[in-house]
Amino acid sequence: MLTKTEVEKIAGLARLKLEDKEKEKFAEDLSSIIGYIQKLSEVNVEKVEPMFGGTDLESVTRQDDETKSISNPEMRKQILNAAPNREGDYFKVPSILE
């Protein structure tokens, strides 16, 4: 059973602010799901290779071509317009250094 404090810790790691009244419901929900997924401990996975990803494809690479990076001015404008806070052609971000 997850405690309210554990939920607060996870939410902090995930950068999610939770309302106080939601925390207990989330603790309850997450506990019941975690209880269910513990079912996997029943499976003998000795000598099984983990399957990361959906295919066995090798890494796919391509040439780094800077002319393909948002060379379309219209698209560039749309991307910048989507920013909540900008100055000229820059995203404006809160300062991280005092």
Binding site: I10, R15, P84
Partner: protein, 474 residues
Amino acid sequence: MNLKELTIKEAHKLLEEKEITSVELTKAHFDGIKKHDGNIHAFLSLTEKEALESAKKVDQRISKGEPIEMLAGIPAAIKDNILIRGAKTTAASKILENYIAPYDATVIKKLKEEEAVFIGKTNMDEFAMGGSTENSAFGPTKNPVDTNRVPGGSSGGSAAAIKAGFSVYALGSDTGGSIRQPAGFCGVVGFKPSYGAVSRHGLMAMASSLDQIGPITKNVDDAAAVFEIIRGADILDSTSADREWQSYHDKPVDIEEIKFGVPREYFTHGLAPEIEKNIKAVISKLEKEGAQIEEISLPYSEWALAAYYIIMPAEVSANLARFDGIKYGYSKMSNLKDTYLESRGEGFGAEARRRIMLGTYVLSAGYYDAYYTRAQKVRRLIKQDFVHAFKEVDAIITPTSPTTAFKFGEKTQDPLSMYLADIYTVSINLAGVPAISIPIKEVNGLPVGLQLIGNNFEDIKLLKIAKIVEDMSK
């Protein structure tokens, strides 16, 4: 003639023969939407002006006697997590409420080359997380068959739109059943192609090792028609596979040459007896017509849902980290940490936050090996189940869902009960194989979906087999 009942093939023929125009066809669908979508709520936004312009262009080409593409001039509804340039694309989330897509998804680019007519963006569970559309930030979609019931999800808007005659076909996305389950609940066809068959560039990523785009249509022929356009390798999705595809119109398969596998693990506790009866009736009919039926075992099915609910949220927590309140979307700007906390805390709905937290938990130090690595090992075992099965059989028959469409609110209080609705669909995504849901005989007036699973990249063979099963279940 009811224009809203036409399939792709029928509409294409009528357009070519100049019996109807694309503008008439498009307008008929918008009329239906205006009359009935206030009640159903299949759409989050409509693009009527652009649709009529596209339709007019196709009509001009037809009147000049030019040949037209299979999907030209035919209305399409697109799930709102797929980007159409210049159109609002929200993934049914408050965090993207005002987001305008700056580019076309690859599937959209391909449909535009066909001169498809996009009528609007369909409702869904927020970021494709859910099985009922009740997680949409903009209110749920109702099932056109019974408006007290959910249409399924997450592609519930797309499935409802096809059932209600709002569009000739639709695109959905499927991470754990999100095309097949709503198709089953609404009584239409939903096809999830092999992982890697269709580019996901421009699909908002939910769980990247599982996500796949596919069609929701009125019949199997139409699903094949759309699939044959949208499939193919794409340099912008490095998981897309480069391969030679067969054509759906090559020689049809002979029923006497097909061996169907019936996995005993899919017909146990939890399956509604009436659904089991109807699925078994189709199986008997296939056998009578000369198909071979074999009981098989997929022994690791039992653990698929648990593995899925580790792998999927882990990937969700990573994919949704991009929503930071800075580059786009809902933003509460203050100092850096609070910008993250508040933009994400207020922008994401409850289910998105639940899955992000679950993913963060299973990936955190001390739990990573116990949950995440173990789940990836179980995933390998599930994949091997299918590899073994397809050495023996051509296709596997199962129910799409253990129940018919449920009522609103029935499962919202208990997320685990909602997750159990995916029990027959998630293994397919974990294994990466293709699967299709086709409607069979109803139970108490509610649609029932039969799921057919095919071998990896044998999508065309699966569609041909599905066509036979579809004909047989009529």
